[in-house]
């Protein structure tokens, strides 16, 4: 340990990547944390509360974001992607592409004057398209680094060579259209992959009417809808008419345990549906929630009691049955058709809002990343691991944690992240 250990590259700035980076940084190992998006935080930043404690998600995440940003051993590379990697365990040469932000990170104070003047309106990705944002924007309110970003796909100047209004209103002269994408080469001893998940797009399951019916939404959209810093300021209203919601159907296993889509179980949905139903009741005690499930999987610490509490105190009923289809009435209220397997009858229920618990699928682009790193994916495109050796990829020196190896809840992702940090430390501190 006399020689300074080689740095470790962590790919993905969600809770798993952040925890891995913090552990390594705290051990005294230099870390490069790479995030494709303009800010770190990942999916956890998009959640409203977390089960089974109902802790506010961003509130418990945000100190970790700040720790990462200020850590002397951690270098953040946001808006960056791994483009190439050569070498082996203990000795990797990695090429990063750092995309231009067109905003000077050390000048911008995130005041938002620029966005107030930007004429462009596009759908906001962080809020799941539930609101519009400008072409110069903060990725999200508490995002780190806390700076604006210009969206090159939609900025008028960058696409059509007109506008530059933001420049005129920036009191700090932080806008910089001269910025170019740059390539950086890093010499690292180990790599941790923590690229997380995307929500499955349920449009293909046409019988559920997602995108056709306005009051059928996905669980991640619901998280934004009920979040105080979300598009409605936390008011749970129907997307169609902004009326309050009093009757909700939560539909489980959408795209999961499904031979046509993903055969696997996404692990976290039984619990997040329970949480989401609880939150609805906390917002409005008139709310009645129905969770349509196949098997109730509440195996983690405190989960079973959480479900019991939901039934007892939050007006939640669990109905065992797979939804056959969703139709709509004249008020655009979803009608849920299902076989109640406990009574063996076909039944229907009209609700104000239907929430689809869509499965967790690997992030877009993992095939390319796996190819660049030279590691194998499994049949679903999750990073391949061995059941008894869960944090090692198929290539020595490259480790994996969190939802990119398999759908996993937050505590397990955090434990794995620390574990992957340990495996990486073993590699670089030998």
């Amino acid at each position: 340990m006399e020689e300074k250990p080689k740095p470790v590259l962590v790919i993905g700035g969600g809770i798993a990547g952040i925890q891995a980076a913090l552990d390594l940084g705290d051990m005294g190992i230099e870390v490069h944390l790479v995030e494709r998006k303009p800010a770190i935080g990942g999916r956890m930043a998009q959640l409203d509360k977390t089960f089974p404690t109902n802790d506010c998600s961003i509130c418990i995440l945000s100190p970790k974001l700040a720790d990462c940003f200020r850590h002397p051993n951690i270098t953040l590379h946001t808006l960056s992607e791994v483009k190439n990697s050569t070498g082996q365990k203990g000795d990797f040469l990695v090429k990063l592409r750092k995309y231009a932000r067109f905003v000077k990170e050390d000048e911008c104070i995130n005041c938002g004057e620029c966005a107030a003047k930007c004429p462009v309106k596009v759908s906001d990705e962080f809020d799941m398209g539930l609101r519009k944002r400008e072409a110069i924007y903060p990725y999200y309110l508490q995002g780190v680094p806390a700076v604006m970003t210009i969206d090159r796909e939609n900025c008028l100047y960058l696409t059509r060579d007109v506008c530059r209004i933001c420049e005129n209103f920036c009191s700090r002269n932080a806008i910089d259209f001269e910025q170019k994408d740059t390539d950086v080469t890093l010499h690292v001893g180990a790599i941790i992959v923590a690229t997380g998940f995307d929500p499955f797009d349920p449009s293909g399951i046409s019988q559920y009417g997602y995108k056709r019916y306005r009051n059928v939404i996905t669980s991640l959209e619901y998280e934004r809808l009920i979040c105080a810093s979300g598009p409605t300021g936390g008011h749970l209203t129907r997307p169609s008419d902004k009326n309050p919601v009093e009757n909700i159907a939560f539909i489980q296993c959408v795209g999961s345990r499904d031979l046509k889509n993903n055969r696997y179980c996404s692990s976290v949905c039984c619990m997040h549906a329970t949480k989401e139903a609880m939150l609805a009741y906390e917002h409005n005690t008139k709310v009645k929630s129905h969770i349509f499930y196949m098997d109730l999987r509440a195996a983690g610490k405190g989960f079973q009691k959480y479900v019991a509490r939901g039934q007892r105190e939050y007006n939640i009923s669990y109905i065992r049955g797979r939804i056959a289809k969703i139709t709509e009435d004249r008020n655009e209220s979803p009608i849920v058709w299902y076989e109640n397997t406990q009574s063996s009858k076909t039944e229907k229920m009209t609700v104000d809002l239907a929430v689809l618990a869509t499965s967790l699928v690997p992030r877009k682009g993992v095939e390319e990343l796996a190819k660049v790193l030279g590691v194998d994916l499994d049949e679903y495109n999750f990073f391949k691991t061995d059941a008894l050796n869960p944090l090692d990829t198929t290539k020595p020196g490259i480790f994996v944690c969190g939802c990119c190896r398999e759908p996993t809840d937050i505590p397990e992702s955090v434990a794995q992240a620390s574990g992957a940090a340990e495996r990486a430390a073993e590699t670089v501190m030998r």
Binding site: C59, P63, P145, A298, G302, E406, G419, R423
Partner: protein
């Protein structure tokens, strides 16, 4: 310090506070309080922008006390303290006021009264801030050795990993061999790898590793000290062994419940999954019709938890039975099949294809053993079945070791209502204890399969390696101090202290109490009991606490 200059920052926390309290009004109000020279409201005080603003204001306004009224000190106090430190202000001159967890979240429907309450809380915080004193953290050397308690696959994984990184490890195992529960299992799902072979191969590696000392047939007798400097006494076959360790990892595993008195359990025709594993291992299973019952003794009122691994264990054993005897009939009576993750749904599907019959029952209409048959109401079919059997296998949950409470007491860490060790934070600190320097992993924490246990073992090793790698830790100066002039040397404090952190010593001035700073947890028991009022709790002095209470009391008409 001459003039008192307090700065107050009131946080909206998005709408968590701002949605329920009048935050700008709170900031205006704060400015009217004694010693307050600056106050403002922030959208998110903890965001990068918010912290920078606090830092800049400390310099610009020459603040010498900082008050932040926001969420909770549990997650955010360290952050604000270090922000003060970065601005050159002693971190102990920072005062937290909790107006979210203890105000906005609990009074969501009463904006005006809740705002008044928040004002009172801020008033109290400001009053205390004026009496805060700068304190220095002490740095303690860390003994570069880890104690791992439990020699199962979890403990061995921790030990090997830490040893690989160059740290000394003492691995303490209660039984007379390494391997733990896996010694008693047959094959592991989903790979069908032989469990005992897996752990015995690992045990060989552990034993030949020069950095690891294995103590079998040993139990923890006593633990003294604190992070970096634990004095451990281990009892090994009646002999006491003493050594030092910097960190401790608890990897003691769990037991499976013996279903005494349930379903006519007799260990012969009605056995547990563990006993079935043994029968399969020894090739002495002789049964054509096997009925497995899931959730025996779990997910009920007494043990309201799912033990996570039993469904897959049943599926695996059912398949092994079918493999050995394709004509065997196997029924699995379940409540919910738990086969989470990418690897196990197919495994379940394969079991069904193999011809294993899965029957859903409910807690209300659970199976009954009667005249050599099993009566069960099939919830999916909607009718009662009457199944024959040669062997009934009960899937019982993992339960905490009966001696885990005793170990918890020695380590001064908590256990939950079922006796499993309780981590520092359910979401974000799953393998840490709230006590620095002690960590937990595997089934000692909660039922887990081998893969999860191994992940957590590496996780705990990582966390434990942080103080070991850095070589020193800082301890908070929130400890008792003795005024020797006042101390009469009565020794009451020594008797009261649950941490053995204060003792009476002979000095030139006679018998006096002395605090062992590193052991003191700042609980205050000694100070409360001191008849001479000679003991002060740093950062929680009587004056500071009274300063908080008085402005509150004054407001009550």
């Amino acid at each position: 310090m001459n003039e008192m200059r307090v700065g107050v920052f009131v946080c909206h926390c998005g709408t968590n506070i701002g949605g329920f309290l009048d935050v700008p009004e709170l900031a205006r109000y704060a400015l009217s309080l004694p010693n307050v020279v600056f106050s403002q409201d922030n959208q998110y005080a903890c965001s990068d922008a918010g912290l920078t603003e606090i830092k800049n204001t400390i310099a610009e306004k020459k603040l010498n006390r900082v008050v932040v009224a926001s969420c909770t000190p549990r997650t955010h106090e360290p952050l604000f303290r270090s922000t003060c430190k970065e601005a050159g202000l002693n971190p102990y001159l920072f005062q937290f006021v909790n107006i979210r967890d203890q105000c906005s979240w609990v009074h969501m429907q009463e904006r005006e009264r809740a705002t008044e309450k928040a004002k009172a809380l801020i008033r109290m915080g400001v009053a205390r801030a004026a009496l805060l004193e700068p304190l220095e953290e002490t740095e303690i050397e860390v003994n570069p050795c880890a104690l791992v308690v439990g020699g199962g696959i979890t403990g061995m994984t921790c030990a090997l990993s830490l040893a690989n990184r160059g740290f000394e490890v003492k691995l303490v195992e209660k039984e007379n061999q390494l391997g733990g529960t896996l010694n008693h299992l047959y094959k592991l799902y989903p790979t069908n790898k032989e469990a005992s072979r897996l752990v015995q191969e690992m045990a060989k590696e552990v034993k030949k590793n020069p950095k690891i000392e294995v103590l079998i047939s040993s139990e923890i007798e006593e633990v003294q000290g604190f992070v970096g400097n634990y004095d451990i006494t281990v009892k090994q076959e009646e002999k006491a062994r003493l050594f030092k360790a910097g960190v401790i990892i608890v990897a003691t595993g769990a037991e499976t419940l013996k279903p005494v008195g349930m379903y006519d359990y007799n260990g012969k025709t009605v056995v547990t999954q563990m006993e079935l594993e043994q029968m399969l291992k020894e090739g002495r299973l002789n049964a054509d019709t096997v009925v497995m019952i899931q959730c025996v003794g779990s997910r009920n009122e007494k043990r309201a938890y799912c033990s996570k691994v039993c469904c897959l264990t049943a599926i695996k054993n059912a398949m092994l039975i079918k493999e050995a005897n394709p004509d065997a009939q196997v029924f699995v009576l379940y409540r919910d099949i738990v086969t989470q993750g990418t690897k196990y749904e197919d495994y379940y599907g394969k079991a069904r294809e193999t011809g294993i019959t899965f029957i859903e029952y409910s807690l209300e209409r659970h199976p009954v053993l009667e005249n050599g048959r099993i009566r069960v109401y099939d919830e999916l079919l909607g009718e009662e079945l009457n199944l024959p059997y040669d062997l009934v296998v009960l899937s019982t949950p993992m339960v905490a070791h009966p001696d885990s409470a005793d170990l918890a007491q020695k380590l001064k860490v908590p256990v939950d209502e079922y006796g499993f060790f309780l981590e520092a934070h359910v979401k974000l600190r799953p393998v840490d204890f709230a006590t620095d320097g002690i960590f937990v992993c595997g089934c000692a924490h909660w039922p887990a399969n081998v893969g999860e246990s191994v992940s957590q073992a590496y996780g705990a090793a990582s966390r434990a390696s942080i103080p070991l790698s850095v070589g020193h830790v800082k301890t908070e100066p929130l400890i008792a101090v003795v005024d020797e002039e006042e101390c009469s040397g009565c020794g009451l404090c020594e008797l009261t202290c649950p941490f053995k952190a204060i003792r009476i010593e002979e000095t030139e001035k006679g018998r006096k109490a002395k605090v062992i700073a590193a052991s003191c947890k700042g609980c205050g028991a000694c100070g409360a009991g001191c008849p001479e009022k000679a003991i002060t709790m740093q950062h929680f002095t009587d004056e500071q606490l009274l300063a908080q209470v008085i402005p509150l009391a004054e407001a009550i008409p």
